[in-house]
Amino acid sequence: MSAGPPEGLLEARGISKNYGGVRALKEVTFTAYRGKVNVLVGENGAGKSTLMKILSGAEQPTGGEILLDGEAVVLASPRDAQARGIGIIHQELSLFPNLSIAENMFAGRELRRGRRFVDRRAQRRRAHEVLKRLGQDQLDPNAIVGDLPIGQQQLVEIGRALLEEVRVLIMDEPTSALSSHEVDVLFDVMADLREQDVTVIYISHKLDEFRRIGDWVTVFRDGDLVAHESMSRTDTGWIVRQMVGRDPDSLYVRNSSKTGEILLDVRDLSVPGAVPVHDVSLTVRAGEVVGVYGLMGAGRTELVECLMGSRKAVTGTVTVKGRPETEGTVQARMAAGLALVPEDRQRDGLVPTMSVRDNILLATVARLTRGGLLSGGAEQRTASEKVLDLAIRIPGLSAAVTALSGGNQQKVVLARALLTEPVVLLLDEPTRGIDVGAKAQIAALMAEFAARGCGVLFISSELAEVIAMADRVLVMARGRITAEFTAETVTEEALVTASASESVLEASA
């Protein structure tokens, strides 16, 4: 960093936040510097999003004060914060699935023609400009947001924040659903913003990523600010040490089991739809961890959903443990030995109205009966066993699942899948939005699962992760498998080339 202490713009002083009995923030004092990219990191549930919600008016602190330009301010609502030039990209997308891209961007602050009417044409034009700035000029501003893949939705959310004349832009994991290409574009935009003296607060779990863009880094742990340092004076090891409180021996555990018979054999699978899949063939062997890399829209989610039976294939065969599974329903595939941890745990994984225990047992509850009736004891035993196995941090088995942090919610869904005793575990972006510690745990779980003679097929958009965890990597682009590497042959360059060569994004860029 250049000489002289940077100038603080937005300051949180002694901010606390209690949710009922949960202390999400404990008198945190945090300063975001003017015209800098201020990076926030920390484990899941460390309180990062909570602080950002408070700084953007979406939540009220239990104690402490907020200073903007050295002046104490009260941010009673998102409107208040917006009026003061504070914009935010929320971690959970807050979009209107029923409205167009342009309308999403201008919801609540529509451009007007005359005093009364919405100026749709101007909105479309401005939306198009912003999309172009994000490298998405092929996107139609009239497209309905609910029809977009999650990555493009995230870009719309980003675009919305960029439309405002903001002094402070808070970005809470804006890249969790983006692939490296869009991340590059986004970083260019952030560099621009920095030029324009905009203060950026950036939250991410992708260590290699934010090191490229951040000026300052702040580490949170258990609702406390534990470290605050200029990025140039830190390295990855330092950050992980601050986060986890110990040395990162190894982030990812590599599977080292011997491979055996073919457990999953997929032949010529084709799936119609918005993101179609064409003639995919693949195998997963016992003891093997197979990674699937690809860009947004490559069709990986469609592939695993089809394998799991929640999406219908038009052609192709799926053979599990040598037995063809022709029925193609979720029940049949589950019985055959497949289990899926879905990509979007909020939408496809958790039942928010149920307790942690009931969520864990959801798929296997029929096994825990005596004389047709559920046996409370067996339920409690089974669930708590899994909680211990996976080291899920919960207040209690009867707690609401929504009260857990993201990583722990992910483990709940994983526990449910493991309880079905699958022979091949399908994981769609299992590490999205979870912290390094949890990532390492999930990698270890995958390895352990493979060591028991089972197979793993996991999808990931992070190069480092696929390379580190997979024995074999398949690359998907435009619904086809375009390349295959072994752990020995795989390189970042090869993956990028194979995934981009035929990708939608590359073609249109």
């Binding site: 979406a58 609502s77 998102p78 409107r79 917006q82 935010i88 929320h90 807050s94 979009l95 209107f96 699935p97 029923n98 409205l99 342009a102 309308e103 919801a107 609540g108 602050r109 529509e110 007007r112 009364r116 009417f117 919405v118 044409r121 479309r124 034009r125 939306a127 198009h128 400009e129 172009k132 000029d137 092929q138 139609d140 501003p141 009239n142 497209a143 309905i144 029809d147 739809g273 918005a274 179609p276 435009r478 619904g479 939608v504 249109s508």
Partner: protein, 360 residues
């Protein structure tokens, strides 16, 4: 992959916004046909009934049926606003009844004030009636937003309360004669429900005006777009700085005012106000909105669709009466047509979304 990109024109100087996705011609035609699906059902009904009865497709019968439709259409337009935000309004029938009784009472026996009885002109009475509806709607909105009562329950409660108030207003009686007298200066109430302008009943004109206003509000104004936003994702709406509670209260006020207007039209047409006016009309109004493609989960729907839905229900009911179908069969046929029309709606949405996706 069949995706086609919307090409930006080569002369990209001031990049004009890309137009709506272009569909190949046949797909487009299919889509248009399906968008007008309620219209298709309507046309089928008309064809069917005019084949059975020569009186069905006469100008005078069409005008009459449209007049009958007007009442339900106005109710349904109001309800559409509510449904678009993800709510529901079961109290519209009762509000119509209450507004009719208030207006009837003012016309028939005036307002007792200290020192005598005041009579208002018919126009003022109409405004008071609508204000009563708006007020009841505001109560609905406040109960729903302030006390977080589910709209279904809040408006179900209001269904009973408003109906009870309507009955208490006259102690169960009917206000028999609403024609007013010159001495009282309150003549002319029949204008809205009985008279015609240019050969078209005033009630139909009123429906046209209400529908046009509703279309403009829902599609062209910030308020209208925010209604869709609230119905699409309430949390996101709050985070986007939209005053969600205000929007919600506003739609119940609109719904209440529309219901009151419908009640006044009924009362005017009847020339008498009785407390059971418009009983169970709420179900027809909601059915019209849903037939017209409004999603009960909120965020999706059009006013024009709702009006079409009201036409389908009205033209069906009147047609059944015209050809002399028994009451019992009327009930069966009506239920079946409502479900059938929605089934075609589902087919349409699936086809439409597959078409849009394939071609966008």
């Amino acid at each position: 992959m069949t995706e086609t990109h919307v090409d930006a024109p080569a002369t990209g100087a001031a990049a004009p916004p890309p137009g709506p996705a272009r569909h190949p011609a046949p797909a487009k035609a299919a889509l248009l046909l399906l968008r007008g699906r309620t219209l298709v059902v309507l046309v089928l009904l008309v064809v069917f009934f005019s084949a059975i009865s020569s009186e069905y497709l006469t100008q005078s019968n069409l005008i009459l049926m449209t007049k009958h439709v007007a009442i339900n259409a106005i109710l349904a337009i109001g309800v559409t606003f509510v449904i678009l935000t993800g709510g529901i309004d079961l109290s519209v029938g009762s509000i119509a009844g209450l507004a009719g009784m208030v207006a009837g009472g003012l016309l028939f026996k005036g307002l007792n004030v200290p020192g005598g009885t005041v009579f208002f002109s018919a126009a003022v009475v109409i405004l008071i009636g609508i204000a009563v509806g708006a007020l009841v709607g505001a109560v609905n909105g406040l109960v729903i937003t302030r006390f977080k009562v589910a709209p279904f329950i809040a408006t179900l409660g209001m269904l009973y309360v408003a109906r009870g108030l309507a009955q208490l207003h006259s102690n169960g009686g009917t206000y028999p004669d609403l024609s007013g007298t010159p001495a009282r200066g309150n003549e002319g109430f029949h204008f809205i429900g009985v008279d015609s302008l240019l050969g078209i009943p005033v009630a139909v004109w009123i429906m046209i005006v209400v529908a046009a206003a509703a279309i403009v509000v829902t599609t062209k104004t910030p308020f209208g777009r925010r209604i869709f936003a609230v119905g699409g994702n309430e949390r996101a709406a709050i985070l986007a700085g939209i005053r969600v509670n205000r929007i919600k209260i506003a739609v119940y006020v609109i719904s209440g005012a529309c219901a009151a207007l419908a009640g006044l039209l009924l009362t005017s047409e009847l020339g008498a106000a009785y407390p059971d006016t418009a009983t169970t009309y709420e179900l027809n109004a909601i059915a019209a909105a849903v037939l017209g493609g409004t999603a009960l989960s909120g965020g999706r729907g059009t006013v024009i669709g709702t009006v079409m839905g009201a036409f389908v229900i009205g033209f069906l009911s009147d047609g059944l009466v015209l050809v002399g179908v028994s009451t019992f069969w009327q009930s069966v046929v009506k239920g079946a047509v409502i479900v059938f029309a929605v089934i075609t709606e589902q087919a349409q949405q699936r086809l439409q979304s597959s078409l849009t996706k394939r071609t966008s």
